[in-house]
Amino acid sequence: MTRVGRQLTAASCVAVPAVFLAVFFLYPVGSILARGLGADGLSRLVDLPGRSSFRSVAWFTVWQAVVSTVLTVVVALPGAHLLARRRFRGRSLLRAAATVPFVLPTVVVGGAFLALFERLGLADGPLRLTRTAGAILAAHVFFNVAVVLRTVGTFWEGLDPRATEAARVLGASPVQAFRWVTWPRLWPAVAAASSIVFLFCFTSFGVVLVLGGPARATLETEVWRHAVFRGDLASATALAIVQMAAVVAMVVVTNRLQRRRAVGQRVVRRAMVPRASGGLLAGNLALLVVVLGLPIAVLVERSLTRGRAGGRWGGLTLDHYAALADRVTLLPVSALEALGNSLVFAVVAAGLAVLVGGLASVVVVHGRSAVSRAFDLGMMLPLGASAVTVGFGMLIALDEPPLDLRSSRWLVPVAHALVGVPFVMRIVVPTLRGIDVRLREAAAVLGAAPARVRREIDLPIAARALAVGAGFSFAVSLGEFGATSFLPRHPDRLTAPLALFRLLSQPGDALRGQAMALAVLLMVATALSVLAIEGWGRRGSVRGDL
């Protein structure tokens, strides 16, 4: 390649991701800040703490996140121990299955819990859970158990077990050994996982909207209610700024904790893992099955049965699935067409995320250090910012010249790709970095010129990582609800999660059945795309985790 050609290639590597980020993220977020910190906005912002409605929303946002996090850790820790330190039949299956809830669309999880409460008779009456904080907490635990199982479990597995064994030989009971030897080394991982879970719960949107009802609002849902329902953009902006400030503070803390964890990590694998004893295994599995399996099982069951009239079993039916093709007055298009829209958007979003994320990864790994660091941080911003920030920013920034993209249906996959890019980079960057420099040297010694080395060594290894990233982006896009719910409504851009949300918002057996059928299809599509691509990708030298 000529010198000019090389420079052009390098320039486009930097330019494409930079422009994408600037137009679709920095400019919208900047618009929120400009609006909210301008003279009008500022007085509104200063007013906020005095309003009791704001104080109760802020209080609820914080405490539900704290309690959700604590509950999640308590439920997940024994399971993490089981996965890290014990051998049993179905261990890898459990590990894979436990990650499924994490990738499920939030609206699907909301629907699953609605179905569960109805089946258990907790939808109303004295033990009502629907539209309570309890419902939100339960769904958050369901979602985030996977995060703790995965991050803490992997870290735990990597801890050298000989230290604990030495403590046991020296006379410590299992509890003492855990307390004095395992826990001090494990807690940074637990703290890091907790801070991530806290962030997720703090910015939770779909679950709160579906299960909480108007009385149980968080900052996120309030931004949405003011912006979309009441058209009060000034209040929404003020709330969004509070939200952004809180998220930035939490991301800083999380990064600190993450760094501690990285320092402590030392991977030791051993061939022999003791078998799990029957009681321990049964107790743990039962807990995980109830927490993780029951909502999904009820969801599937509900999609296949008629509602119980007068306590009688309605019988199996596929009617709800068949009804997905019919028009209902709630939706501008049929649920099936919405699912079709979602699939198209997901393909486009995955393609965009792979293009932008792949180029950005090359810059992060091979670029000059200042550019590399700027990209590493910049492209991760949309992941740290909540979906609501992304959606609300686009709503207020991209609806007027010079960038009037309201009329384009492709704004939806662009918003989804913005969230997908960090996922792609989190897999591709460590994989590129992890390519042993001696592989390149070996190829050069065997006669491969530099361009050939990139094509023969870097590209095949990165391709697998890109495919895994594409799979995740696809799943993220299929289930994306927060950002999409802000984008202007139009029949040809109704996505499956939006359709599901509207179906869930109305009572009635037929609608509920359709909602459950749609939720099951969405769940199957997301879970399959993640599990299939992950199983395939992990066989190569793909590194990195979400």
């Binding site: 065997l446 050939r452 190569g540």
Partner: protein, 347 residues
């Protein structure tokens, strides 16, 4: 200056002259001179960190010298990039391409050279047969044992028909018995192929088993170079003597004396060759006490103490055993130092 004339075509093989390499200003190689003739197997012997791997990497073009250079058949390689040098390098932990199977690894050099696929398949099969891995072509490289991976790495380099084969402690990560077996195989194979080869190791047994010439490295230079017999008989420096496995290094006082008697003139360090020490069948020698008798590599070895000095040497053993095999720790013996046992060393 003994720098070769550029553009020569005589088959003189590899010449390294005044080669110096620094990392962040810290010198790693300080003026190395070395030649490897066609068909010759030179072993670089030295402790870790002495610069022997850096020497290989610089010859391969993976590191840039700050002074001196590398020539092949009289041609200066300073401006020849790694991939055009036509040298093979077997890495310490193999550096196999995990995303390709065994055949895909062995094939690599041929493919980048643009060889048609039917010829490549033949060459791959032949290279795998050479290293005793017939039929391994379809295996994934992460299913190979350490010894198998090592053979694949060797086959990958051999298949590309390099002008010079370099091996960077290729057997270092294997267990002892496998290492000894593969050392013997490697020596036989390299001699059969008649390749110029530069082999790096820190194991003197491996060096003696393989080398046409041994170059002992220390502190970024070559201390001593010669045939195995030459360097064994006269290591030259204390460092080289230790690297080669000599144990009886004796520091002399100002008069050249020590507990064994007067071994030289003036102070300094000398080597007392173990093969020149023995136990007298009858009295007549230096008074010594046996400290221990043990077997090393199947041979009986005695450690005896003379005054403040302790020396170690092999004992006669087996059917022609003399007094040696009956020795016990604590026995008093007469130690005989044969003529020619003492070799002067430079510090």
């Amino acid at each position: 200056m003994n720098r070769p004339v550029d553009g020569g075509t005589a088959p003189v093989g590899l010449e390294v002259h005044g080669l110096s390499v620094s990392f962040d200003g810290v010198p790693v190689l300080a003026g190395v001179d070395l030649t490897v003739a066609p068909g010759e197997l030179v072993v670089l012997l030295g402790p870790s960190g002495c610069g022997k791997s850096t020497l290989l990497r610089t010859v391969a073009g993976l590191e840039q010298p700050v002074a001196g250079g590398v020539w092949w058949d009289g041609v200066d390689l300073a401006r020849v990039p790694t991939h055009e040098r036509g040298f093979g390098l077997v890495f310490q932990d193999h550096a196999l391409f995990g995303h390709r199977d065994v055949a895909g690894n062995v094939d690599f050099g041929l493919r980048v050279a643009g060889m048609p696929s039917d010829q490549r398949a033949q060459r791959v099969a032949r290279a795998l047969a050479l290293v005793g891995l017939d039929g391994f072509g379809g295996r994934r490289v992460d299913t190979l044992s350490g010894g198998e991976a090592q053979r694949v790495a060797l086959a990958r380099s051999l298949a590309a028909a390099p002008r010079l084969l370099m091996l960077d402690e290729p057997l270092g990560s294997l267990d002892r018995s496998l290492r000894e077996r593969l050392t013997a195989e490697l020596g036989t194979l390299l001699r059969r192929l008649g390749l110029a080869a530069l082999h790096v190791t820190h194991d003197h047994d491996e060096a003696f088993a393989l080398a046409d010439r041994i170059a002992v490295m220390g502190g970024g230079r070559i201390d001593r170079i010669g045939t195995p017999d030459e360097v064994w008989a006269d290591p030259g420096t204390v460092h080289a003597a230790r690297c080669l496995g000599h144990e009886n290094l004796v520091v002399l006082d100002a008069d050249g004396g020590c507990a064994l008697g007067r071994l030289g003139s003036g102070s300094g360090t000398v080597l007392v060759r173990a093969d020149c020490l023995s136990v007298a069948p009858v009295s007549g020698g230096v008074d010594a006490i046996v400290a221990s008798v043990s077997r090393r590599a199947g041979r009986l070895v005695a450690t005896v103490v003379v005054g403040d000095l302790s020396v170690r040497f092999p004992l006669a053993d087996g059917h022609d055993a003399g007094v040696g095999s009956t020795l016990r720790p604590g026995d008093r013996v007469d130690l005989v130092v044969a003529a020619g046992a003492v070799v002067r060393l430079v510090d």
